[in-house]
């Protein structure tokens, strides 16, 4: 019984759900459509539900650190719990200053974190983009053209030609290779999906594949 619950059960369930969802794309049959709709609705609810489970797991994990006074950790865990509870309560209460507080306390530091990457990019591009071969020159030229074509001033300084060249690189050269990649990835996804439906791929259930 345990083996069925842990092995065959999830495979059969996944297979049935996948077949319903695939068939309803091709066959117009009312019961199939409502079953598919119900599954999608359930999946969306499940997405919200997992956020709740993750929150509980997070609180339990950090609560342990606080009660055990883990060195160099407990006060950070305490802060996390306080912030989590504070935002949850004020969010549920719909306090009028919630959005402003959220953007100021979380949004700004998070944005600054992204902004700091600028300096790593400056440093990395200066030190790493030293070229020695023709291929490397071509790649560097492509980088510079696309970067300048994306900068508003690029078009003004170098004329519309830089913008056109950047657009050509992205929409013709890159698009061609990306399309090949997208088709290959789609075929791979179909094959992987078939293997999951047929129970040949157990990685999705937490087991070993094959």
């Amino acid at each position: 019984m345990m083996s069925f619950v842990r092995r065959e059960g999830p495979i059969i369930l996944t297979g049935v759900i996948a077949i319903i969802l695939i068939l309803r794309e091709f066959i117009s049959f009312a019961p199939l459509n409502s079953a598919g709709g119900l599954i999608v609705r359930f999946a969306t609810l499940l997405g919200a539900f997992t956020t709740g489970i993750a929150t509980i797991a997070l609180v339990r994990y950090h609560y342990r650190h606080v009660t055990r006074r883990t060195s160099e950790q407990w006060y950070l865990s305490a802060l996390l719990i306080i912030v989590l509870v504070f935002f949850t309560v004020t969010g549920i209460m719909k306090v009028p200053w919630y959005n402003l507080m959220y953007v100021t306390l979380i949004g700004r530091p998070f944005g600054a974190n992204w902004g700091i990457m600028t300096f790593f990019l400056i440093s990395a591009s200066y030190r790493a983009f030293r070229v020695g071969t023709l291929e490397a020159y071509a790649a560097l030229l492509g980088w510079a053209v696309v970067l300048l074509s994306l900068a508003p001033l690029g078009g003004f300084l170098f004329g519309t030609s830089i913008s056109s060249l950047g657009t050509f690189i992205v929409n013709v050269v890159a698009a061609g290779s990306f399309r090949g990649f997208v088709v290959a990835a789609a075929l791979g996804t179909i094959i992987f999906g078939l293997r999951v439906i047929l129970g040949m791929e157990r990685g999705a259930f937490g087991g070993e594949s094959g």
Partner: protein, 294 residues
């Protein structure tokens, strides 16, 4: 006696202390944020295509304004978002606009438009802006909050909008909002405008909406994901890059605001990066050449 040989000028230009350019970048960013000059910018073909597509929307078009805002892409996309909203608004009651998001930070960041309108070049808060453009909340403009579920969420509201969004941001039941009687499924939506910074996100909305219902997609993507969206242009969607689009869109709308300020900073820092790389490579080339001569 000091026998240490002074490195050549070509060696030195390859070893510029990085704090110098970084300090210059900090100064450029801060000064241009405080005093945006609105450096001259050309209008790219891709931004103009999106602008023209919105201008040509026929009266009665149902538009979904879909913002995937979070702190990391706000600076890049906010200018374009505000300008596009105003382009939609200035058509008055001709266009029906429904605002949605699948970012948990989305509602808070979208609310910045209404709490700090002067920063984003808007005429006032929500009520003032809607009044300015002759829009009426509930009749030709509605805001919804965070939709969970990622791709299954996209599919859910494509098949049954009410199932994903039972209430608007004010908690009004969707059945009580007059505009929503015209929007039940994705088949009722003509155009979706998405601002985002995640390639996979774009793909699953394309799969669930454009692929199934032929919805027109107009996308403002962050520079990070912009090249990866090229396979879907122009047949599945029109798209342009966030920061460039922000500055260009403000120019097209005839004002300068946050998009121009960020565009100024980005332009000069990008130019500095290219110059640094060029200088470093010239140094390397000349050093090798001199080495060969010896």
């Amino acid at each position: 006696m000091n026998t240490t040989e002074k490195p050549s000028i070509w060696k030195q230009v390859q070893q510029i202390p990085i704090w110098g350019p970084n300090l210059l970048a900090v100064i450029l960013i801060i000064v241009l944020q405080l005093f945006p000059v609105g450096l001259p910018a050309g209008i790219s073909q891709q931004t103009r295509e999106i602008y023209n597509a919105i201008e040509e929307l026929p009266a009665g078009t149902m538009v979904i304004f879909h913002h995937q805002y979070h702190a990391g892409n706000w600076g890049e996309l906010a200018g374009a978002g505000s300008a596009i909203l105003q382009q939609l608004f200035r058509r008055g009651s001709e266009l029906d606009i429904v605002v949605i998001t699948q970012s948990s930070s989305g509602p808070a960041f979208f609310d910045l438009y209404w709490s700090e309108p002067e920063t984003y070049g808007l005429p006032g808060n929500r009520e003032e802006t809607l009044e300015h453009y002759g829009k009426t909340y509930g009749e030709d403009y509605v805001e919804f909050g965070y939709l969970t579920g990622m791709e299954s969420g996209a599919r859910l509201i494509a098949d049954d909008f009410y199932a994903g969004y039972p209430n608007d941001i004010f908690g009004t039941p969707v059945e009580d909002i007059p505009l929503m009687s015209e929007l039940k499924t994705a088949a009722d939506v003509d155009t979706m405008i998405i601002l985002h910074s995640w390639e996979a996100y774009n793909k699953f909305w394309l799969r669930q909406w454009q692929g199934r219902f032929g919805t027109q997609f107009l996308v403002i993507a962050s520079g990070l994901v912009y090249p990866s969206l090229s396979p879907y242009y122009p047949n599945q969607q029109l798209y342009t890059a966030g920061l460039r689009a922000s500055g260009e869109y403000e120019a097209l709308m005839g004002y300068t605001s946050i998009g121009a300020a960020f565009g100024d900073s980005f332009s000069l820092v990008a130019l500095m990066m290219v110059l640094l790389v060029v200088v470093g490579n010239i140094g390397q080339y000349m050093e090798r050449r001199e080495g060969k001569k010896r």
